[in-house]
Subunit: 348 residues, 2 copies
């Protein structure tokens, strides 16, 4: 329990606090910038005063002069997707641990909002930004301009050449593991995806699917369903109902581009009385990609390829910190991809 002089002397500024602590203002200023930059005895006196009085530097006055603030922007495309919420959580905490002030933003799937967020971010003079762009929907030139001004690390979705670095998951690793597993233990899967996916990862997954299937000597079979926006479950659900009604499947095996589509697919199967799983009494096997936080609780639980959350998030912040320390520029843009981990559950 920390004792604080309550009510008494309301400290207005650093001048006052310095006087009360018996240290000159420039030294106090130095202390707040880096507590280790002052002599241990003076540090102790300042911290003693800090316990007696409730003072903290005015962040606006502090940031006014500093060319670069301690702010870090975190932008995700769709926060209502628990996947991004989880990643954002990790990123936030890493930033705080490193002494930065993270600000979280969600583009909510809209280009206009993404642009506005980047716009607002610029006037925050952030030390750096962690950006998971919308992807296909993104305004490439707007992001390019932004990256020219603000040190930016892209994650999750790559936009060729934009940002100082990209950290994400190796989509080929996702799909190759799921396809290989499914073909090894049963029939080769069809690939189930949105016709015009918002996310560039989707395209890479489709290509990987085709490549792996051909390498294994199977004919790829891609099912594209209509729908736009970020209501993937709804799209997957409707699309699956259509696929099931029109009997579009060539085998008893389906690989969804991502877990949220799969959740919709599973709901459709359940409604239609189609039992999904790898057991003998099941009519269909369904696997997917991402390891969505809810994938464990679908019916049946979802066999999927998991992102290496920790490494993607961890490396993203590490890279941003390096970028900041390098003065905001890297000599070459690097792309780091982490492989997936196959998570076997009941659906396939």
């Amino acid at each position: 329990m920390i004792r604080r002089q309550t009510g008494m002397t309301k400290i207005k500024n650093m001048e006052e606090f310095a006087a009360l602590s018996g240290i000159s203002r420039p030294t106090v200023s130095k202390y707040f910038h880096d507590p280790d930059s002052v002599r241990p005895t003076t540090r102790a006196r300042i911290e003693a005063a800090l316990e007696r009085f409730d003072y903290r530097p005015n962040i606006y006055a502090v940031n006014q002069n500093r060319k670069l603030t301690k702010n870090i922007g975190i932008v995700v495309p769709y926060l209502a997707d628990p996947f991004f919420a989880e990643i954002a959580r990790y990123l936030e905490q890493s930033c705080i641990a490193a002494g930065y002030r993270p600000s979280l933003f969600s583009s909510h799937g809209e280009q206009k909002l993404e642009n506005e967020i980047l716009d607002g971010l610029q006037s925050m003079k952030p030390a750096g930004v962690l950006l998971a762009p919308l992807g296909r929907v993104s305004d490439r030139s707007a992001i390019e301009k932004f990256c020219a001004t603000v040190p930016t690390v892209l994650f999750d979705s790559n936009l060729d050449g934009l940002g100082a670095a990209f950290i994400g998951s190796d989509n080929f690793s996702f799909v190759s593991q799921t396809v290989e597993y499914m073909t090894r233990t049963g029939e080769p899967p069809s690939f189930f995806e949105m016709r015009t996916p918002a996310n560039p990862n989707a395209n890479k997954r489709r290509k990987a699917y085709v490549e792996v299937m051909e390498r294994l000597g199977f004919e790829p079979h891609i099912i594209k369903v209509d729908g736009k926006g970020w209501a993937f479950e709804e799209i997957g659900h409707k699309g699956a109902l259509k696929v099931l009604a029109e009997n579009e499947l060539r085998t008893n095996s389906v690989l969804c581009s991502n877990d949220r589509l799969a959740i919709g697919f599973l709901a459709a199967c359940y409604e239609q009385g189609i039992r999904v799983g790898r057991r003998d009494d099941c009519a269909l096997r369904l696997a997917s990609n991402d390891d969505h936080p809810f994938a464990k609780f679908t019916c049946p639980s979802l066999t999927t390829a998991a992102h290496d959350y920790d490494n993607v998030a961890g490396r993203s912040v590490e890279t941003l910190f390096e970028l900041i320390e390098s003065g905001g520029k890297f000599e070459t843009r690097s792309e780091t991809l982490f492989p997936a981990r196959l998570v076997l559950r009941d659906s396939a």
Copy 2:
């Protein structure tokens, strides 16, 4: 498409921009404060200059002097819960539409984090804060202190007497509708909940359940499952497995305290081969509360009582704006509750 003088004259401050636009700085300052406060002709000249040059006031310098900023803090207990992500989205957009700058924070279920967020929020001098507190886990005195300094409207979870107002859902309305529906169309439900719920709404729901059951002439039957934290699906899943194994149910009917527990419960039923629904071939009926964004895609889809999202969120921001305009204080603290809407799906 807006033309902008690219690269050319980098405007450093309002002084420079004022000179370039041919208007004096105080007038320009006035314009940025309220575009309607200047003569239409001068407004036009400023806006013409704004299109030619890329200038925006330094937010730190702006906020330094103003006692109150245009910032609004939005704090939710757990952003990885899509329910809060959706509400936060609505709140954010309402704030932006009203000319404020929202900042979103998640306590991630931890008291320490909630306190740190409030701490950081204070130094942001926000015009107001929309706070959905952790509930039982919250540090009441910390929040009390915070509310004394910053105009705060509580939503979702009430803490008696704290904040200038509370806006939430009427838990009695939720439970009475689900219980009445279930008893009317089948056997009276047991109530399934966590032993020590984090959220105060849970307690109100339990009480409402008891009251409604007794009024209808049935004996209440409450099942409490172990587990703490915010991994509700996991807790519901484990708890349900135990309940099913030990045959703790007295009827074929269960009401879950909230949808995330129900999602776990449904997963357990599926694993155990217990068919859930209102059809004759089903062994169990399950209903719940909240209308979680995924409730439509569970297997079977979840019958649940829906929050009046729009009204709760809408009234929350309205109330906050009123509070801000009233100078940060209301004469009396109001509590506004919106009733639920019963959503009939397949699970009950």
